[in-house]
Subunit: 495 residues, 2 copies
């Protein structure tokens, strides 16, 4: 198998697209901006979902499902939401097709125009808070901790697989609380859940912080974010968690009777993550040979490949590999034995390297004689021979080692790419030369934020230590305006 | 808690709606024909999905995900599909909202009209076979066994929760095979998977058969169906499995090179089931006190309710219940201890009866002294006292017993409501007096089928033994036309 991958250094964007295509995880669909998640890619999403779903349930959340359509008028109910939220969305205006008179196909029946257009949900705050008005009467109904696994649609102009697509698979948590304090704690707790997942399962290091007023979610009081760094040293916002204050409660008139029987507005949060997590993972670990999957997310953790020339060698080798497969499976490790005979071993090697399978075991006639097996680890692209009898112990440890190694490597890369600067000149030079994250003082105004973006393409990814700013720790001068700054913020060119 | 349920005999339709509403499994949404699956109902769907998903994977299928939108032109590619399939669907014509000039909300931006309208998928054969053309080149790529968990939209004029809604949560399997025989075997195998699930998990007896030419899926060669009977003695089609022949392969030009290198069209199947399964389950087991859930699908299998008057009794009772809860949980049984103090026990009894929780355990001060506990089974609405120490053994057995009892009761009811008639007069009388299923001879023509439907509302639910008809077993005369019939078919008034 000729990998035919472009080198990462030469054409990062094409390298990314080709990895996705050639590893068979996804492909571009004929529908503008939508991708098809192929079985291998969907299996990664299934692993992601099942781990996160358990985390959500362990923190007291329940799943529910709300309609895919939202009446147009709902979007106008929360002022900041309608103003700030992307208006690019899919709009359903008719509900019937009819046969064309020329018999050549179907056309929209003009008589089926809807009285009120329906929007394919870009996010579900409005329809969910409309329900919460019916569901919440008293403090006994709170907290209400709901999550939804769903698809949403945003009509993005420029799309990139996993990072920005028209249709997105995601989950959205929407919670309601009796107090501000509890809602803020929920927002922060869910950010921790995401950080735990990204760092300990996807092996992707994150920077926690809050968004500026300009970058926060339309309708939120405060948006928390996790920022990751890609191999081409751009920031990628992995996910966000929003403290909504009482904004949606007021827009949808959701009040509860407190213990004294007095009516109060409900405090809200929302938080979500998407298949972008997979994009972030790809952009953190992959190399010129293809995907590199962290063992905890890999649909196949170990692949077994037989090598034989003569027919009489075949059965003994396959028998031994089946035994190995069964013992590893019994340990709960997902193993694949690739015994296809119309594909040469070398081709298989390339294929599973492309697919990022963490460990490859190869068994040939001579190995069998010596009771050894060749073990290849995808993260280091290194191989050695080990005794077959030791595999049982060795494989689980090696999977852990690979998982840790990927995280540590990514962490080192990320940390090496956070730079502090004290002047706008240095800022621009560093950005041009090194890209990566830049910590710098900012005067806190939208004006400066937009000017810097306009002049350098860098945006404020987050305020990493908002408590420092609140407590007036780390004062300084804005690199752009020279005005007083309450603390450094994190800039980067972002995806 | 006043249940306030209408009696089933008096107003079946309202009884059904109120059960769904009051048991908190779902509610009508503000979006026409769409329902909201509340956490308790979604948990039933999660159980359904996880059991079925395992069955699909155990039979070699993989999950994938295709776009929610289908370009309008795709629907015209398979002639029968466009002709026969419901044209009532949600049509996306625009992709942008803009602020109204009067500042009062948003409106559709006329400049954002799409060149080709997109249809929110009512089913995905077209977009999936379009992909299969790229995915299938050789016999080595076959069989291709793909399933998708997704939402689909059909613009139904009359909707009923779980049975017929505008948006539907479902799964759709789409497989491709090298031979006709293999595709037919797949179609039948998946029907068996559904039957296994319905009978052994949902405790809903099914009748297997094939649909008439008139009732089959648009684009299929043959549609297999599972028919169930509701408590008001109507037929409810639970799900279908379609042998597609080479229809979609031809429409999308999907060929494979066989072992001799010759190009052949691929054989296809598709099969799906929806949240209607839950509707079928409700309409099979519920009673005037509410839902009755089969233990294997119940989100809560056992509920524990403490009874105490004095504060000093409380802790001892709760401690004992927590112990019981922990031992049952350790056995993998989902248990809920309802220790809410602002709700009286009698209210809780009603609530969990409404919710169909299979077993209720109630512990009061006197029970604690005697080391006994009251055990209530929802299926029989009967209670007795048992020794607490025996619960560990008793509960798993009782759950099995309830599961079996529900199935056997439903089976008896169903079997008592299949009647054979030999004349159209008897047919009409039986239908009027008894409703239920009627087995009768039919001449095999669409004309007769439609006439009977027009005159009696009864449709042919299925041909239960197509092999008899093929083999000319059971000849007779059509009850309507007196023309020769090759075998009896199953009629009923259907949902």
């Amino acid at each position: 198998m000729s990998k035919g991958l472009p080198k990462r250094e030469e054409n990062y964007s094409e390298w990314y697209n080709q990895i996705i295509k050639k590893s068979n995880i996804a492909e571009i669909s004929p529908v503008r901006g939508c991708m098809i998640l192929k079985p291998y890619g969907y299996a990664i999403w299934e692993n992601t979902k099942s781990i996160l779903d358990k985390m959500f349930k362990d923190t007291g959340h329940e799943n529910a499902y709300f309609p895919i359509f939202i009446p147009k008028s709902y979007f106008s109910k929360e002022a900041a939401h309608v103003e700030g939220f992307a208006k690019e969305c899919a709009i359903v205006t008719h509900y019937r097709l009819r046969n064309q008179k020329n018999g050549k196909g179907v056309e929209v029946d003009p008589d089926s125009k809807l009285e009120e257009e329906l929007i394919v949900r870009p996010t579900s705050e409005t329809i969910i808070w409309d329900s919460y008005k019916r569901w919440i009467q008293s403090y006994k109904d709170l907290p209400l901790l709901i999550n939804q696994w769903a698809n949403v649609v945003r009509w993005e102009m420029r799309t990139r697989m996993f990072l920005r697509t028209t249709e997105i698979l995601w989950q959205e948590g929407h919670t309601a609380h009796a107090t501000k304090q509890e809602a803020i704690e929920e927002t922060e707790k869910m950010l921790e859940v995401y950080a735990n997942f990204l760092e300990n399962y996807m092996a992707v290091p994150v920077i926690k912080g809050i968004k500026t007023e300009n970058e926060k979610f339309a309708g939120a009081e405060r948006t928390y974010t996790l920022e990751t760094l890609t191999l081409d040293k751009r920031a990628l916002q992995a996910c966000t968690s929003h403290f909504l204050g009482t904004n949606f409660a007021k827009a949808f008139d959701v009040k509860f009777a407190n213990k004294e029987g007095k009516l109060e507005y409900v405090w809200g949060t929302s938080w979500g993550c998407t298949t972008r997590f997979i994009g972030s993972m790809i952009m953190t670990h992959s190399d010129d040979n293809g995907l590199v999957l962290p063992p905890k997310l890999a649909p196949i953790k170990v692949v077994l490949i037989p090598i034989f020339k003569k027919e009489e060698e075949k059965q003994a080798i396959l028998d031994r590999l089946i035994k190995i497969k069964d013992t590893l499976k019994a340990k709960g490790i997902s193993v694949k034995l690739d015994d296809r005979e119309y594909v040469r071993p070398g081709w298989k090697f390339s294929e599973y390297e492309l697919k990022g399978v963490p460990i490859r075991l190869t068994l040939g006639p001579r190995d069998l004689e010596k009771n050894t097996i060749e073990i290849f680890r995808r993260d280091a692209c290194s191989k050695k021979f080990v005794e077959i009898d030791k595999l049982n112990e060795l494989i689980p440890n090696l999977l852990d080692e690979i998982q840790n190694n990927l995280y540590n490597k990514a962490l080192k890369f990320r940390d090496n790419n956070i730079r502090e600067v004290d002047s706008y000149d240095d800022f621009k030079k560093t950005l041009k030369k090194e890209r990566g994250y830049i910590l710098a003082h900012w005067d806190g105004t939208k004006e400066t934020e937009l000017k810097i973006k306009e002049e350098t393409k860098a945006t404020i990814r987050c305020i990493p230590n908002p408590e420092n700013i609140e407590n007036n720790i780390g004062n300084g001068k804005c690199i752009y305006s020279n005005k007083p700054s309450k603390g450094k913020v994190l800039f980067a060119e972002a995806y």
